[in-house]
């Protein structure tokens, strides 16, 4: 099993079609919706994590493109600048996925698990030293 995070951009005329559903039916892919903003008559965005065989993931992405969706790899990469981090834990209760977490309750060291990060960016501004950076 492999996994890949992608960003789907729905043109507004595709919003009402069950496109993502077919990923399960036809390509046997498991998906996790990490973030979605879909509004009628507007371009929609969805961040998906696809799980399945590599070949199937590629076929699924090809299918999505054929449906007129724009696909981008999850291009935003969240990094913690540990030189700037003051090791408070303001981000920890803000982070919705536990990507920012306390590694050791004895020392209260803050750590970052990028595999869990969904690039929602909720942590960026609440970080007092602004140590969390978005890389494109």
């Amino acid at each position: 099993m492999n996994s890949k995070k992608i960003v789907l951009i729905f043109p507004k005329q595709k919003i009402d079609q069950p496109i993502v559903y077919k990923l399960i039916k036809e390509f046997n892919l498991v998906f996790n919706i990490l973030k979605a903003s879909i509004t009628p008559d507007q371009e929609g965005h969805m961040v998906l994590e696809l799980e399945g065989e590599n070949a199937e993931i590629e076929k699924g992405i090809k299918y999505l493109k054929e449906q007129g969706l724009k696909i981008e790899a999850l291009s935003k990469d969240i990094k913690v600048n540990w030189d700037k981090c003051v090791q408070c834990s303001a981000c920890v209760s803000i982070c919705p996925t536990g990507a920012l977490y306390i590694k050791d309750r004895k020392t209260m060291e803050v750590s970052f698990d990028s595999d869990k990060c969904i690039a929602c960016e909720l942590c960026i501004k609440p970080c007092p030293p602004r140590a969390i950076e978005v890389h494109f």
């Binding site: 003051v86 408070c88 303001a90 920890v92 309750r105 209260m108 501004k125 030293p129």
Partner: protein
Amino acid sequence: MVKTIAEINERIKNGQAVVVTAEEIIEIVEKKGVAEAAKQVDVVTTATFGPMCSSGAYFNFGHTKPKIKAGGGKALLNGIPAYTGWAAVDLYLGATAMADDDPRNKIHPGEFAYGGAHVIEELVAGKDVRLQVEAYGTDCYPRKHLDSWVNIKDLNEAVLFNTRNAYQNYNVAVNLSNKTIYTYLGTLKPNLGNANYCSAGQLSPLLNDPYLKTIGIGTRIWLGGGIGYVAWQGTQFNPHAPRLANGVPKRPAQTLAVIGDLKQMSSEWLKGVSFIGYGTTLNVGIGVPIPILNEEMVKYTAVRDQDLLAAVVDYSEAYPQGKPDVLGEVNYAQLKSGEIEVNGKKVPTSGISSYKKALVIASDLKEQIQKGKFLLTEKVADLPSADDAPKFKPFNERPVKEEK
């Protein structure tokens, strides 16, 4: 077993002093008891590293040719206004100062990306800072404008002088409203979405000497990575706060005003930080050595997170409106576990003060004392106690009525 500070200093000079952190003393007392710990241990090191808004630094930048009198004029350091209401070339820069054209909370919540605290951090890091002065000109100080780069090494004096630091205990902030609020204790999610606390708990200086038996005016401390001193009681000093049986206040209580040479401090321990929707402030590192003069000091310094209570306060209503309401009390072991219970709901916690960095400071101070590089001081005078301190008062507002 009673020791004096002079005796402890002799042991420090001879490299014989037994120094432990406020975390380590807990286990020593658990294993060996109070009496034995009092015999064995000479000094317990305490520390804290967190945002402390009433911080700032003063400078004397030296006389220009021709001379300029910033006093009564305007001065900017990297665009941030410094206080000029002093003699010709003295300035004070506060941590929360921000540029006149900063949008602040015009679009709420504002970013507050850069303020006085950030300038202090950059100066300490040895970076050049732009100094702009607008003066009115006098016969003896004819110059009216100055725009120059300055560096901390060229300043005559650069002194960190913080009027309120090292709060003895603090509130745990929560949000009962149904929208996110932005406070000096961080971003608080609606409907008890999170709870933010701000104390090093069992490591925190004033929680380890709750009646300030050993800490007073003149106490030498670890400040911003260098040496500092307790100058006075901090503002909002309140020894009257309710206390537990162990003497430790359950509410924000006593504070310290501290001073030290900025030139020998480090930007690792003076960090400009930005609280979205609130403003800028300075993260200050402070370490205080507590001499173990007797068994009483062992008992105080052996205080554990589970023995320290803090009040949970609603920052959407009770705090801003100055209401005394408290939603409950929790201990620091609960806060550090990552979850507390408020109004029957499990609420995730975040620390705004850094326990990890406080541990680093306490260990560094311990090492300096062990190596004989840091000697303890006798306090010159006591800070006020509950017997002699005036009552801590809110503002007495007497609205001015315009005469017709």
